[in-house]
């Protein structure tokens, strides 16, 4: 009872997707009676994130849950924490192998590149030969991996397919429209999260391509769910962030209390969310889904 767990993410403050993580973590904390804290580098700088992990370790929690956004950077601090005897669980980014390398108990998540690759191969099966990747955080190394995976899955060059859309919705919308008008042969569009998906939906509705252009997106949110429902979006990739935050808290609590630990990593995704089976997703999108 009353253990303290700290979850460290790589996301900047304003990244809306991480809310689900926070909510799930709080829920799990409440259920097992543990104290949970969420921390992140305000600007999304992974260097700062490394400091936060060492800081977390210095405050002697009963467990650390962290993403492995850049294994090179984070290996040192995580290994130090492990060496101090703090159990660590890796979530979200990274791979099971990397998690094992740094001495973490287990890995729960969906490797970004692989998810992108799977999506790309699916799109290829659906007959797509070219695409536009709307990257709203082009300087962020983690999210960009999705585009790279998708391009590799399709077997095309990433170069001119990715745009630096910025985070302003009007600019995203108009940049997508401008790109599509200058490159009319584009067959698909991929957005990397709710921030870019919403304006892209607007863009397609306005230039009449909604429903006819192959549109996939990562992660869920209110607008995305609506888009899937009305057919604008073909599929959304749900990595079920709820599990990525809920499970580690439960597992760590029980590990601390009873010494029990699952024998395997947990793959929380990728799951393709399509028009079918949307009801729950719709209700909790952005909150628990």
């Amino acid at each position: 009872e009353g253990e303290k767990f700290i979850l460290v993410s790589h996301a900047p403050d304003s990244d809306s997707w991480w809310n689900t993580i926070k909510n799930a973590m709080a829920l799990a904390g409440e259920q097992v009676g543990a104290e949970v804290e969420y921390r992140n580098p305000p600007t999304g700088d992974i260097g700062d994130m490394a400091r936060i992990i060492s800081q977390a370790a210095a405050s002697n929690p009963d467990g650390i849950i962290t993403t492995l956004a850049d294994p090179d950077v984070l290996r040192g601090p995580i290994e130090d924490a492990v060496a101090k005897g703090i159990p660590v669980i890796i979530i979200n980014s990274g791979t099971p192998e990397q998690a094992a390398e740094v001495g973490a108990l287990m890995y729960i998540g969906q490797p970004e590149y692989d998810a992108g690759l799977a999506a790309g191969m699916r799109a290829k099966r659906d007959g797509v030969g070219s695409f536009l990747c709307v990257n709203h955080v082009v300087s962020n190394p983690v999210v960009g991996e999705r585009c790279r995976g998708f391009a590799d899955g399709l077997g095309v060059d990433l170069g001119k397919s990715m745009i630096d859309s910025g985070q302003d919705p009007a600019e995203i919308k108009n940049k997508v429209k401008a790109y599509l008008s200058a490159n009319p042969s584009t067959e698909a569009v991929l957005t990397l999260g709710p921030t870019s998906a919403g304006p892209t939906i607007e863009a397609l509705k306005e230039n009449g391509m909604a429903g006819s252009l192959y549109f996939g997106t990562f992660d869920l949110g209110t607008e995305i769910v609506k888009g899937i429902k009305d057919g604008t979006i073909k599929w959304g990739i749900d990595q079920q962030p709820f599990l990525q935050a809920y499970m580690p808290v439960i597992i760590l609590a029980n590990y601390q209390r009873f010494g029990v630990l699952p024998g395997n990593n947990i793959n929380s995704g990728p799951g393709f969310v399509t028009k079918e089976a949307l009801e729950k997703v719709e209700k909790y999108a952005g909150e628990y889904r």
């Binding site: 403050d13 745009i163 985070q167 008008s181 429903g211 952005g286």
Partner: protein, 384 residues
């Protein structure tokens, strides 16, 4: 003698009591004189930019009705915040919290209307009141503490962004709040920010064949451009308002004076503090107009909206020929600066430039525009 700022003081001091022709001064032609205005550089810049994109991206649809609307909307966005930033900069201060204010106002509207279920007009008016009050606080702190506005508004950049994120998460567990469109349906005030006007005109133009129609998809048969977004209308209103205020009214005179030399202005009885605080409030007002239009258009508010917009506002204003040190500038110039900025940004996409180079171009054009600005002013005025 007081040191005069070198910039716009090009002509020689005519000798006192010697109104007859001065043999020591080469004549300055009327044409040249007409050209010595702050917005000159941005006029040249605008022409250059349009010529460039006409050559490079003519066939990309950039100059079709749809394309024009495309960069028009982006430019209008810049222009809305540039109008406020311009007056504030002429009054000798600047505001780095504009971007955070945009995010903040949007979240206030969303929280009030969606989460707490107030009527949309109440939400919008509340957002305006709160934002303008924060603008006042900004100004008050700058005046009272005598600290540079750079520092005070930098603090508010952080504080407002933090409050926005905190408020959104604490009340709704989300940082994107959707569902605003449904709420705004039929609201009188929301229509002022979200709708489009002149719908009929565009249908008529499309029927005449002057603008295209959708040939397929869900909206087949409708004109591709079906109206002028209120965003553009607001941009025009704010530009005209700010321009008239600045050049034609007593208050405008005071704005120039406050930025030109606050001490001197105070001596002649100009209420400098009030002018500056009002300009901070106007900047906050413009940021809220921006936020409201955006929220109405996209139907959602997010805590990360408006990131770095303060720089884009300042860049537009400076491209428009204003002095960063205050006392000199023009709203028309700032509006042209916004236009250049918008056209370049969107034009790069029409022209198919490698997207990761986008920022490089942005920086390069900013630099070129400002250097061009200074250079043109200098060759025309003969200043060294």
């Amino acid at each position: 003698m007081t040191a005069t700022k070198a910039e716009p003081d090009p002509s020689p001091a005519p000798r006192s009591g010697a109104p007859e022709k001065d043999e020591r001064v080469k004549e300055i032609s009327g044409f040249r004189k007409a050209m010595i205005r702050p917005e000159l550089g941005s006029i040249c810049g605008t022409i250059l930019v349009f010529v460039f994109f006409l050559l490079v991206a003519r066939d990309s649809g950039m100059f079709s009705a749809e394309g024009v609307l495309n960069w028009g909307v982006v430019s209008a966005q810049f222009a809305i915040i540039a109008a406020g930033a311009c007056l504030l900069m002429i009054a000798g201060e600047f505001d780095l919290s504009v971007g955070s204010m945009i995010g903040f106002s949007g979240i206030v509207i969303a929280l009030m209307s969606v989460t707490w279920d107030f009527p949309m007009w109440v939400a919008i008016i509340t957002a305006f009141i709160v934002a303008v009050a924060i603008g006042w606080l900004n100004g008050y702190l700058v005046i009272r503490t005598g600290l540079p506005s750079f520092i005070v508004t930098l603090a508010f950049l952080y504080i407002l962004r933090g409050l926005t994120i905190f408020a959104a998460i604490a009340t709704t567990n989300k940082t994107i709040i959707g569902g605003i469109r449904d709420k705004a349906e039929g609201d009188w005030l929301a229509a002022l920010f979200g709708g489009k006007i002149l719908n009929g005109l565009f249908v008529w133009l499309a029927d005449l064949g002057l603008i295209g129609k959708f040939v397929a998809g869900s909206r087949a048969g409708q004109p591709i451009v079906d109206g002028v977004p209120m965003l553009i209308v607001w941009a025009l209103i704010l530009i005209v308002f700010a321009h008239v205020l600045l050049t034609r009214t007593q208050f405008g005179n005071w704005i120039y004076a406050s930025g030109g030399d606050a001490q001197a202005a105070r001596y002649t009885g100009v209420p400098v503090d009030r002018v500056k605080i009002l300009m901070f409030m106007f900047t906050a007002f413009c940021a809220t107009v921006f936020a409201t239009c955006q929220v109405m258009e996209f139907g959602s508010a997010a805590a990360d909206r408006g990131l770095l917009k303060e720089f884009e506002a300042i860049i537009s204003v400076v491209i428009g020929g204003a002095l960063l040190t205050g006392g000199y500038g023009s709203v028309i110039g700032a509006a042209l600066g916004a236009l250049i900025f918008g056209v370049v940004q969107q034009g790069l996409f029409f022209a198919g430039v490698e997207s990761s180079l986008f920022r490089v171009f942005l920086g390069g054009i900013l630099l070129l525009a400002v250097i061009l600005n200074t250079y043109i002013r200098r060759i025309i005025t003969g200043e060294r």
